[in-house]
Symmetry: C2
């Protein structure tokens, strides 16, 4: 069968939405896959540690499999035990009551971002965010049809600073939301309570959603959790937060996250889940509920690992003539640094990959402001991380 | 804290996309949840049997949990073992080779529909489909911003007939796709090969995607699988198929599906998955791979259950004075029937629920053409189904 109108796949490409035709194809996963052929690479490019999910969480999922939790979960917003565990967890964490109608379970934190964008953003609108920023935020906005509008943060004396006025000036009548991450990926910047209050007040005044990506909330080094917008906002404020079990509980591969939203929208988000995914597997939700109920030890262990990883990084690389380290990150699981004299992070990445066999993520993926930086995930068992850091220190000398 | 501008949640609702503000909120899940307070209801409203996922599939997931498959799966299109199992399965089923670049794994068949719509549909476009149709198709189109354009099928002498000319006449310059389900939900109608060829030719001529929902492909009663568009199309045709492990392998609650698409789009779909869900849990993919590799016995067992369920239905209800049964469905797992003299299916549903304690889905959910019909899922262990049917027969006398 031959048909003249199919020219090597161009026809299929051209039959997609324009936003999908010009979708950004380069990402970290892609980079990691291309580097597979190189042997012995220590992979520090993903936002993922090397700790297998703890046994009690896996056991809860196995028990659910044994019990036959293999049917649809009728409540599209989440299985009741997980919805209750989320309510308890958030009430406990934030010190104010969170009802069962505040959060919707999603298959992954990424899906929570996409769900939020599907609810509010479309062509002719824009969504504003400080950058450098986790690239999936800008890409999720782009997929929605809205314009992703990144606003540079300032890098001064090794510290990232958010210029709120510049962020607000980037908003116009077509702005649907401001999205920020705190602790931020890749910088490890943490929004102060006064900054969050200013964002909240601006959103109220202008009818703009404030969406906080709080997936690294528990990986904060000056307290049990980074300041959250949730206890500062009223339930019906135009506020959503994105969260996930991935980072704080070593559950990246489980793909379980949640979106916290005004309670008045809970039925609507349930319907949206129905039409987007029809919910999250019950077996995974059983594991997630166990993690939220019994996982404070895990959270503490992972935070300690992140702190140890940062300490090892500064121990080995601080003062290295080729390496420009920032001030220590306040939260998260990354160090976002530069090589002196290398302006394009892709060159720096290639250098580190080839000479030291260490995989880092190039900063241009996180926005133009990050283009000379490298993101290194430091959430590794300390010996392996020290090995990677020493290889880098040697190779760059 | 009080702020005068939040009036009982209206502010939040009005800050959503118009398409989400007028999202259809009534659905089967909602109905089932409301009926929970009634005791002893035999639930035949969902598209789900009562068979727990077979042990060999659950065991594969448990083994993955034991092995620590709890990290990100780098290939966003699916874990290699599942991608290979899909390639083998589709090659075997269709008798033509399917490469590793033809299918993208999604967290559920619903997400495969949403992924397809996100790739092609947006405001100013429309998507055409025959109805009655599974409501989530129209709702997924609506969520994309495009206009869902249902075209009535004809119901003649107890048979559903697709008028292709009417379907084609509903397409215009703004039409992105025709979506059809075969075997169809709720009617159990199956597209003939000549009909599929006509759809394919029309799509080629007009540059319109033909999207086949083939989730009930293996629940076909005149052969091992219902006729598929895949072996009739060239790989680069504007053709996609939606599929899932849910129905044929008793895995509704696993939320694992797949989208088959032109191979030239595989990297693009990988990127889209990255920004929409970041993939499907590896543990679930391990179960899905086991199902596709070793599941032909399960598929045969479930098909036999569906056939037995249909036989029981006609055994008990055929000739009942209050019941108007259609011709036997050619595939799927439903009987879509009417009560004589009851024009509004919601009344019929209420009647059957209250008098017989049997839960059915009202036909208006499937489009205006179905408004006098009731959908009954017959994929139940035969004794339980016969009990439900006998209760209905008695209550309606």
């Amino acid at each position: 069968m031959t048909h003249g109108h199919n020219q090597g796949g161009d026809a299929a490409l051209q039959a997609l939405r324009p936003q999908i035709q010009d979708l950004r194809m380069e990402n970290i996963a892609d980079l990691a896959m291309r580097a597979r052929e190189l042997g012995g690479v220590i992979p520090l490019w993903y936002g993922e540690g090397d700790m297998v999910t703890p046994a009690y969480i896996r056991d809860a999922a196995k028990a659910a499999l044994d019990e036959g939790v293999t049917f649809y979960i009728p409540d599209m917003r989440g299985h009741r035990p997980l919805i209750e565990a989320l309510s308890d967890y958030q009430s406990r964490l934030h010190g104010v009551p969170f009802g069962l109608d505040r959060s919707t379970v999603t298959p992954g934190g990424m899906q929570a971002v996409h769900l939020a964008m599907t609810a509010i953003a479309d062509a002719g609108r824009n969504v504003v965010f400080p950058e450098p920023q986790w690239p999936n935020i800008a890409n999720a906005i782009h997929v929605s049809g809205a314009e992703p509008r990144g606003v540079p943060m300032d890098y001064r004396d090794g510290r990232w600073v958010l210029d709120l006025d510049r962020l607000f000036d980037a908003c116009d009548a077509r702005t649907r939301a401001i999205v920020y991450s705190s602790p931020s990926n890749p910088q490890g910047w943490v929004a102060r309570e006064d900054e969050i209050r200013a964002l909240l007040e601006f959103g109220r005044r202008r009818g703009i959603w404030i969406i906080a990506d709080e997936v690294y909330a528990r990986m904060y080094f000056a307290g049990p959790a980074a300041p959250s917008i949730l206890p500062l906002a009223e339930p019906e404020d135009l506020v959503m937060t994105v969260n996930t079990l991935s980072k704080g509980w070593a559950m990246t591969g489980w793909r379980v996250g949640w979106l916290t939203h005004p309670p008045s929208l809970s039925a609507r988000f349930g319907a949206l889940v129905q039409y987007m995914t029809s919910g999250t597997a019950g077996v995974l939700q059983a594991g997630a509920a166990a993690a939220l109920r019994d996982g404070e030890g895990t959270v503490a262990e992972i935070r300690a690992r992140a702190e140890a990883g940062i300490a090892a990084t500064y121990d080995i690389l601080d003062g290295h003539p080729a390496v420009e380290l920032p001030a220590r990150p306040e939260g998260g699981m990354y160090v976002f640094f530069r090589l002196r004299g290398v302006e394009d992070a892709r060159d720096a990445c290639r250098l580190v990959l080839e000479r030291a066999r260490v995989g880092l993520a190039p900063g241009h993926l996180f926005g133009p402001t990050g283009r000379s930086f490298l993101r290194m995930c430091i959430l590794r068992e300390t010996t392996g991380l020290r090995e990677a850091l020493s290889r880098m220190a040697d190779a760059l000398r």
